[in-house]
C-alpha cells in the first residue's frame, strides 16, 4: 500500500461520509461458524467516540466522492469545487480487514457518490461486500448504502452479503425534496425499500436458515434543512416502522455546508431538536406510544424544555396517577421519571409483595418527577398545581449535555 496516498484518500472519504449518521452494528445474527475472521451476533459495540460525542462503530467511508448529482445539502455535490478521489476495491477490503483484526471496528459502512451511473456505483459496492464474505470469509458487520435508482438485481445481491442496507429519504416530504435535490425522488427510494422487504419475507419463508439482510433496513431524515414539523417527521417514522418494517430511522440535524438559497441560513445544527426527536422515536418503538399521542395538529413541534414523555403526561392529567402495584407494564412506562429497566423491575418485584416508595427510589426512579404521577403502597400523588409545572421544568436533566 502507498500509505500516504491511502491516508489522504481515507481522510477525504471519511470526512465526506460522516453526515450519514447511521451507526448501528447490532441486530445481525452472523455467527463465526467457519472459525475464520469475525462474528456479528447480538449487541453492537461502539469502539470509540469522536469529539462531538458520536459513536464510531464501523469504518464509515465513501467509495468515491465523485458525484453526478447536485443535491443542495450535500458536501460532495457536483457543483462544489473539491478534490475528488476514489478507493479501489482492494484498498477498501484491505483497510477493513486490518482495522477489524485490531479491534478498531465492528465492520464496514460503505456508501458512495454516484459516478457514471447508479448501477455502476452499486455494482462496485456489492463487489467489495462479496469479496469480504467469499474470499476473506469475513463475518463482521457490513452496512451497504443503497444507491437510489440501482437495479433490483443489485439490491438482491447486496442483501446476500450485507447485514443492513439503507436508502436515505433525507428530506421528509416529496414537496421539499423536489426543491432541494431535484435529481432525487422518493418513489425510487420506496420502490427499493418495498422490494427488499418483499424479498426478505419470501426468504424467511423459503430458506429461514439463510442469512439475507439479517439486520434489515434503515433510513435517514435530515432535520432542519426543510420546514417540515416534528409531527410530520415522527408520523413518517411510525409509518416506516409499522408498514415497511424498517429497523431504524435516523435523524440528522442539518449541518450548514453550503450557501445555497434553497437552504435555511442557520448558525449551528439543531441539536436539541434532534435529541427530542430521538426521544420521541424511542417512545414509539419501545414505550408503546403512537405518533399522534406525542404530537398533534395543535402542537406539531416537540417541546424544547420538556422531554416528550413528560410533555404528554402534563397534557393528559386525566391518565394519572398510575398505581404501580396494579397497572400493566405499558401503563407504568408512561410514568415520567422511570424507564424500561425500572418498569420491568417493578412488574417482576410486585409478585413478591406490595411496592413502596423506598423500593421505587432504590430502583432508580427519578422520584422528584415521578411522585406526581404515581400511586404505590405508601404514597399517593400530590395535587398538581401551577407551581408544579414550573418545578418539573427545573427537574429535567438530559439537556445538560447539549447546553
Amino acid at each position: 500500500m502507498n500509505w500516504e496516498r491511502v491516508r489522504e484518500k481515507l481522510s477525504i472519504l471519511a470526512d465526506a461520509a460522516k453526515y450519514d449518521v447511521s451507526c448501528a452494528s447490532s441486530g445481525s445474527s452472523r455467527k463465526n461458524k467457519t472459525k475464520t475472521i469475525g462474528n456479528s451476533e447480538g449487541m453492537g459495540i461502539c469502539h470509540t467516540y469522536t469529539e462531538d460525542g458520536r459513536c464510531v462503530s464501523l469504518l464509515k467511508i465513501l467509495l468515491s466522492n465523485h458525484c453526478i448529482f447536485d443535491c443542495a445539502y450535500c458536501v460532495s455535490r457536483k457543483s462544489i469545487d473539491k478534490k475528488r478521489v476514489a478507493f479501489s476495491v482492494e484498498e477498501v477490503v484491505e483497510i477493513t480487514i486490518n482495522f477489524y483484526r485490531r479491534n478498531y471496528i465492528e465492520g464496514l459502512f460503505l456508501s458512495s457518490g454516484i459516478f457514471k451511473s447508479p448501477d455502476y456505483t452499486m455494482e462496485r459496492l456489492v463487489k467489495i461486500a462479496k469479496t469480504l464474505r467469499e474470499i476473506h470469509l469475513f463475518n463482521g458487520y457490513i452496512h451497504l448504502k443503497g444507491i437510489p435508482g440501482s437495479s433490483k438485481d443489485l439490491c438482491n445481491e447486496a442483501a446476500k452479503y450485507a447485514d443492513r442496507v439503507s436508502f436515505n429519504l433525507e428530506i421528509p416530504t416529496t414537496e421539499f425534496l423536489k426543491r432541494i435535490a431535484p435529481e432525487k425522488n422518493h418513489s425510487v427510494v420506496y420502490d427499493s425499500m418495498d422490494f427488499l422487504q418483499k424479498e426478505m419475507n419470501i426468504k424467511k419463508e423459503e430458506s429461514p436458515d439463510e442469512l439475507y439482510l439479517p439486520a434489515g433496513q434503515s433510513t435517514q431524515l435530515i432535520v432542519g434543512a426543510s420546514p417540515e414539523s416534528d409531527l410530520q417527521i415522527i408520523s413518517l417514522a411510525e409509518e416506516l416502522y409499522k408498514n415497511k418494517n424498517l429497523k431504524r430511522v435516523y435523524y440528522s440535524g442539518y449541518v450548514p455546508v453550503s450557501n445555497d438559497s434553497r437552504l435555511p441560513v442557520i448558525s449551528k445544527p439543531p441539536l436539541i431538536r434532534e435529541n427530542r426527536l430521538y426521544q420521541a422515536d424511542w417512545l414509539i418503538r419501545f414505550y408503546g406510544f403512537n405518533a399522534n399521542e406525542i404530537l398533534d395538529e395543535r402542537s406539531p413541534f416537540l417541546d424544547e424544555k420538556l422531554d416528550p414523555k413528560m410533555a404528554y403526561a402534563m397534557r393528559h392529567p386525566e391518565m394519572f396517577p398510575i398505581d404501580v402495584n396494579d397497572a400493566g407494564y405499558f401503563k407504568i412506562l408512561r410514568i415520567p421519571g422511570l424507564g424500561i429497566k425500572t418498569a420491568k423491575m417493578i412488574v417482576q418485584s410486585r409478585k413478591f409483595g406490595k411496592i413502596r416508595a423506598e423500593h421505587l427510589r432504590k430502583m432508580g426512579v427519578a422520584w422528584n418527577r415521578a411522585k406526581y404521577f404515581l400511586v404505590c403502597a405508601d404514597h399517593f400523588a400530590p395535587q398538581f398545581n401551577a407551581n408544579t409545572k414550573d418545578f418539573l421544568l427545573t427537574q429535567t436533566s438530559q439537556l445538560q449535555l447539549f447546553s
Partner: protein, 244 residues
Amino acid sequence: MINFIYDGTFEGLVSAIAERFMRKVKCVSYGVVDASFLFSNSEQIATDLGLVERICRGVIKKSSKSVLLAAYKIFLSELPAKEKIIDLYLEEILYSPINIEKDFTKPIILQVRSICKKMDREVHRMHAFVRFKKDENDIYTAEVEPDFNILPLIGEHFEKRYADQLWFIFDRKRNYGIFYDLREIRFIELFNLSSQSNIPVEENDFSLLWKSYYKSANIPERNNLKLHLRHVPRRYWKYLIEKD
C-alpha cells in the same frame, strides 16, 4: 466471629460458604491469607470441588445460571466485602421458599444487580477499547488497565471473533494476561510485558491510518466534550491509539 481462610479462588470461597451453611453458624468472616496470627479463631477450609459442583447445580436448579454468573462477577469485582455479599446472596437464593432472584425490593438483590451492572459495563468497555498491535511473531497484542478483574469474562468474545489469529490481552494492573493459541485460551502470568514482543514498523502505519480516520470522522460543529468524556473517560485514553 470465626474467620474462614480459603484459597483465594471462587471455588474455594464457595467451599467456605458451604461450610458455614452446613455448620449453621451466623458470624463468619472470610479471608485469603491469615496475615496476622492474632486471630486465633481462624480456620482453613479446604476447597472441595465435588461439593462446589453440587452447590452450583443446586443454585441453578433453584434459580438460574444467571445467579451463579452474578456471584462469580461479584467475586471478580475485587470489592472488599465481596465474600460477605456472595454469602448473603447465595443464602437468600437457596433458603428462600421460592425463587427470589427477581425480587428487587430486597436490598441484596438490588446490590448484586448494581455490582453486575458495573462489571458488565467494564466488560463492554473492554470489548470496545482493546486495541491490538501485530508483533513480529504475528501475535496481535493488547494492553489494558480495567477497573475490575474482568479478563476471565472477556476471552470468549475475542475467541469467537478472532478465531483465526493468535492474540494476547495483558492486564497491566494485575500483571497477567489471556493468550489464544488458535485452539484455546490460556492464562499467563508475566512480570514484564515489554520484553516479550517487538512491534514491527508497519504497525505504526496502521496506527496512523486509524488516527487519520478518527480525526476525519468528527463533525466540529457538533463538538461536545462533556458528552465525549461521558462515553470515553480519560482513564481509558492511555491505550487508545486514537487518543495518543
